[in-house]
């Protein structure tokens, strides 16, 4: 029990994942700033942001809405993200082998933050949040199918093993999955999926600032918004970590290989950052057809290639 609590709250759960996620958030902002000829924030800026919201700013409750759901939603988001981080990071750090079929559990846990945001948005009673919530719902419909195809591809590549530990072991003993044509295709599709999961441009329409002023998060302030930030930090770490685990042979924590592990995560985050800085926001309709048609097509091609052993 105590060990489980430690896993959940300290390592590799809440504290660890959120801290690394905050640094990745700084990395993302700094790269963005450099691309845009700006200086960028100091290293600790994500922490300042978080603690200012948590400790200094007051939480204002919307008058028309359901306060209980509105306040619980961010907490659900953090719990969902933390649980997912435990299941993803334990096998990655070779602490616990997890259980058979944990990849599917991870898939479901990763959708919890998105659903919590929708619940919170709809509970706030704000029309802009409602528009944002409906957009997030449509977006989930768009990318979840594609994401499950990616996971199916990984499972096929790993001879029908459903657990992350075996997937990492297989890659470390052989070659990383990304070292084949189908692996590269799956990597591209997965990058776009997590771009949408993280609601980064071009898929940031649920919170489109210049259209619906942060949409789903418009009514959040203070500590409640700090919780959402926390969930976002965690997601910014564990989604790239999941890609590293599924396609790039996970982490090897012996000596100089630690640096290599860090570079892998930073590389994936860098790809996300560059995509978000070289594209305008697309419309929700375009996003759905992008995933439903093009990304699904690429994923299916990858599956066929895997069936032929490529």
């Amino acid at each position: 029990m105590a060990v489980s609590l430690f896993y959940f709250f300290v390592f590799p759960g809440l504290l660890f994942a959120a801290t690394i996620g905050a640094f990745l958030s700084w990395f993302d902002r700094k790269i963005t700033a450099r691309v845009q000829f700006r200086k960028g924030p100091p290293l600790l800026q994500p922490f300042y942001d978080f603690f200012k919201l948590l400790l200094v700013k007051e939480t204002i409750l919307p008058r028309h809405g359901s306060p209980l759901l509105f306040l619980l939603a961010p907490i659900f988001a953090v719990i969902g993200a933390t649980l997912a981080s435990v299941f993803i990071l334990l096998p990655l750090f070779s602490i616990n082998t997890g259980f058979k079929g944990d990849l599917l559990v991870i898939f479901y846990l990763l959708t919890i933050p998105s659903f919590s945001y929708i619940i919170g948005a709809l509970a706030s009673g704000n029309p802009l949040a409602a528009v944002g919530g409906s957009r997030e719902m449509k977006l989930i419909l768009g990318y979840e199918m594609t994401f499950i195809l990616v996971i199916a591809g990984i499972i096929m590549k790993c001879e029908q093993h459903f657990d992350l530990n075996t997937i990492i072991q297989t890659q470390q003993e052989g070659t990383p999955f990304i070292g084949s044509i189908s692996g590269v295709l799956l990597f591209i599709v997965a990058i776009f999926c997590i771009q949408a999961k993280l609601a980064l441009v071009p898929f940031d329409m649920p919170e489109a600032e210049t259209e619906i002023t942060e949409g789903i998060f418009i009514e959040y302030s203070g500590a409640a918004y700090a919780m959402i930030k926390l969930a976002k930090y965690i997601m910014l770490f564990i989604l790239p970590a999941l890609i590293v685990a599924m396609l790039m042979s996970g982490f090897n924590l012996h000596g100089i290989n630690i640096l290599w592990a860090i570079l892998k995560v930073l590389g994936v985050v860098l790809a996300l950052t560059l995509i978000r800085n070289t594209n305008p926001r697309v419309k929700i309709k375009q996003a759905i057809s992008f995933f439903m048609i093009w990304m699904n097509l690429i994923a299916v091609i990858a599956l066929v290639l895997i069936a032929f052993g490529l």
């Binding site: 845009q36 528009v131 419309k283």
Partner: protein
Amino acid sequence: MSKKTLIPIGPYHPLQEEPELFKLYCDGEIVKDIKWETGYNHRGIEKLSESKTYEQVFFLVERICGICSTSHPFAFANAVEEIVGKEITDRAKYIRSIIGELERLHSHLLWVGLAGHFLGYNTVFMWAWKYREPILDIFEMITGNRNSYAMFKVGGVRRDIEGTKIPAIQKVLDDFKKKADLLTGAVMDDPVIHARTRGVGILTKQDVIDYAAVGPTARASGLAIDIRKDDPYAAYPLVNWKVITAQAGDVFAKAEVRLLEMYESISIIEQCLEGLKKEKEGDISVKVTEIPEGTGNGRAEAPRGEVFHFVVSDGSSSPARHKIRAPSYVNIATFRKSCIGQTIADATISLAAVDPCYCCTERMAVAYDVHSGKKLMNAEELINLSVKRTNDIRDND
């Protein structure tokens, strides 16, 4: 199912830099109806102008708008000079046109950046604004100010552009051309920008004529109206340039027109700089001792379209009546055509595509009661309210 949601854009909203209120009545994501309220920015400039001398009015109208701060003095100068009936020197004409075109350059760049920002493409935003800086540096070099240049006066301009400054200006323009190529390429060739802006917020040529739209908004729909050609003033008849038009009438066409107009502006500036070299230095104004009785119409092509100033003079040192019409005043009305039936995402970029400028537009606001249709307050009541408030404040002290 006919219940519509009200999506407010304003009074303060990240989409617009100025206070205004657009009410989008939406069914799901589709905009079914649009209404707007302006009047948050009313400053009583026309009335204020009547209490200033002609020399002072230039500084006042320059402050109507921060971005197109030369177009208003330009139109006012044209109006007053029509009353006076004196031709200004060619050197002053060239300098006026240079200032006007530099302003168009930086205003269009500003719009391109903002349009990128509205689409969530912040890289374009930052790049466009970075490239805008050298243009503002030219302004600082020749006028002393980055904005609100105070260059105009009745009968000419206040400061000369000396021959020694011309090579430096030319160098900035040469550098800028490369950056403009880069930016134009980035916007015109990006498939995602095409997907977001093509076929969005279409205004047909007939719509533009019906709503009397002006400037790039009209030119993007294939209507070649440009005050610089239609009612030539300053040095525009003296140089070679063409009116840029596009046919599609959508947001992309508006961006295209603005981006290509930047090249025309550079060409005009270069020709004016050549023209300046032929004229005698220091010959920048004619002496105007009095403004006779009469009326004058002044028009100028601002970056957003036609600016119109109407001045009535009674022979005294200040205008008896000064009427201003800014381009956004007519362009805003086209939103009924461009936004209804679009999704919210498309409507917001359509709103931004005419480059609306509310502080230019706002002259007078009257509030009506929704049910009875009566004016909520007339002038007398407003004055009484003002007196009452002032007395309250005095009493509290």
